[in-house]
């Protein structure tokens, strides 16, 4: 089993057990444990095997959680949908905390922000705050729900029947108006995040094993997304600062326009196609490959891997650039004399090959 498979199985084993932060901490801990062994000379497979039986690891983590008072078992939410509307002039920031639901950011049909979330007998969504709206899913206290009613002055209460059933693709939707962009932060464990045709003030998202898919998106401020073992895909994004990272998943970006761009993965590949970072580009991987093609010259580009290969394609003549490329044991090929140009490019690999082309 390689690292990505191991971390994904670990996530799957833990997803109904705790808050997303805790799952992320566990995944990061084992991610590091594997990387440290690989750095010590083991292969990924050997490093995973050295950690011992996965079921035992999951049991150990669960035992540790159960010793703590705040741990709570979770179940999947069910069928129907509830809805809340917000005025973006009042509510300017939305913070979502969940563990397993998919989260979709979509354009609003009017000038309001709309939140659609699953209604369930077992689950409760705590939606609090006015300017900063916090959306947090928690299990209802048991007994879950009661009807209270009076008949001829006598008080009765009945447990509400629970029609909850498991729905594989239960999701939470936040519909956002482009004319009044709000800030969004997302925190989830195994849920996926998608965003399409939305304009935001800023986006900050942290996922454990979920995948990220962002398309046709614009942010006035920083757009930062990280997943521990999920893949990050993005196309046609515009923002002053964009940072997209994954620990063991692939990062694939196309047509990104921004000031500062950061794209990183540890064991996954980093693919950046037709990007236009006006000020700075940072691309990093450890064992994955990096492929970058730029649409406009970037004044400060830095690409670094350990064992992966680096392919860089730069626009315009080589005289625009000064390229410093170094690989300890890999081959370095630079397609021209790029030594004195104003645009600085630094490339570093330990054992990977480096290839730089100009005028593409």
């Amino acid at each position: 089993m390689n690292k990505a498979e191991f971390l994904d199985k670990l996530c799957q084993g833990l997803r109904f057990q705790a808050d997303p932060d805790e799952i992320r901490r566990v995944v990061a801990f084992y991610d590091q444990a594997i990387d440290d062994r690989v750095e010590d000379g083991m292969t990924e497979e050997e490093a995973v095997a050295a950690l011992g039986d996965l079921d035992e690891i999951i049991r150990g983590v669960k035992d540790a959680w159960e010793q703590e008072p705040k741990s709570r078992p979770e179940e999947a939410p069910s069928g129907d949908t509830d809805r809340r509307d917000f005025d973006p002039a009042v509510s300017t920031r939305f913070e979502i905390f969940d563990t397993s639901l998919d989260i979709h950011l979509l354009p609003s049909p009017d000038g309001q922000v709309h939140l659609e979330y699953p209604a369930s007998g077992r689950w409760r969504y705590d939606i609090t705050g006015e300017s900063v709206v916090t959306i947090r899913r928690s299990r209802k206290s048991t007994p879950p729900e009661q009807f209270h009613f009076d008949i001829f002055g006598m008080k009765f209460s009945l447990s509400k029947p629970d029609f909850g059933f498991f729905t594989e693709n239960a999701s939470l939707k936040l519909l956002l108006p482009a004319a009044a962009p709000v800030a969004v932060s997302v925190n989830t464990a195994s849920g996926n995040l998608t965003a399409e045709r939305v304009r935001l003030a800023s986006l900050s998202a942290a996922l454990a094993s979920g995948d990220v898919d962002l398309r046709d998106m614009e942010a006035e401020g920083r757009l930062s997304v990280s997943s521990a073992s999920g893949d990050v895909d993005a196309a046609r994004l515009t923002a002053p600062e964009i940072a997209l990272t994954s620990a063991s998943g692939d990062v694939e970006l196309a047509d990104i326009r921004c000031g500062v761009l950061t794209a990183k993965s540890a064991s996954g590949d980093v693919d950046v196609e037709n990007a236009s970072p006006a000020n700075k580009l940072t691309a990093g991987a450890v064992s994955g490959d990096i492929r970058v093609s730029l649409a406009v010259p970037c004044p400060d580009a830095s690409l670094e891997t350990v064992s992966g290969d680096i392919d860089l394609s730069l626009p315009g003549p080589e005289s625009l650039y000064s390229v410093v490329a170094r690989s300890n044991s890999g081959d370095v090929h630079i397609g021209g004399d790029a030594l004195t140009g104003p645009h600085r490019v630094r490339i570093k690999a330990l054992s990977g090959d480096i290839d730089v082309e100009f005028g593409g």
């Binding site: 566990v26 990061a28 801990f29 084992y30 590091q32 444990a33 990387d35 440290d36 062994r37 750095e39 010590d40 950690l51 011992g52 035992e56 690891i57 150990g60 983590v61 035992d63 540790a64 010793q67 620990a247 990183k264 540890a266 990093g284 991987a285 450890v286 670094e304 891997t305 350990v306």
Partner: protein, 113 residues
Amino acid sequence: MDAQLRRGILEVCVLTALCEGESYGYQIIKDISPYIAMSESTLYPILKRLESSGALTVTSREHNGRLRKYYAITPAGRRRITSFLTEWEDVTRAYDYIRSASHTVSEGGTIYE
């Protein structure tokens, strides 16, 4: 070994591994392994407990293009080791007593060391 006792000893071993300076998960396991067996699944809850009890602090720093968590012992953690050593003197005295009387315990059986 009794689970409670083992856990207590492991916690102090982890703190001891940090006495010379900060360290990270895998290095802690390597430092301790000649003395007592420990895996990541045991280490994780121990680090968590030690952090929440204020015996160590955690910082993330970049290392070779990735983030690595480093653990550092606090003064409270050092006090924990000192009190363990003091308490252990009592245990050692008790051990010596038990051992000196072992011939009466074994009653002609074999003593395994």
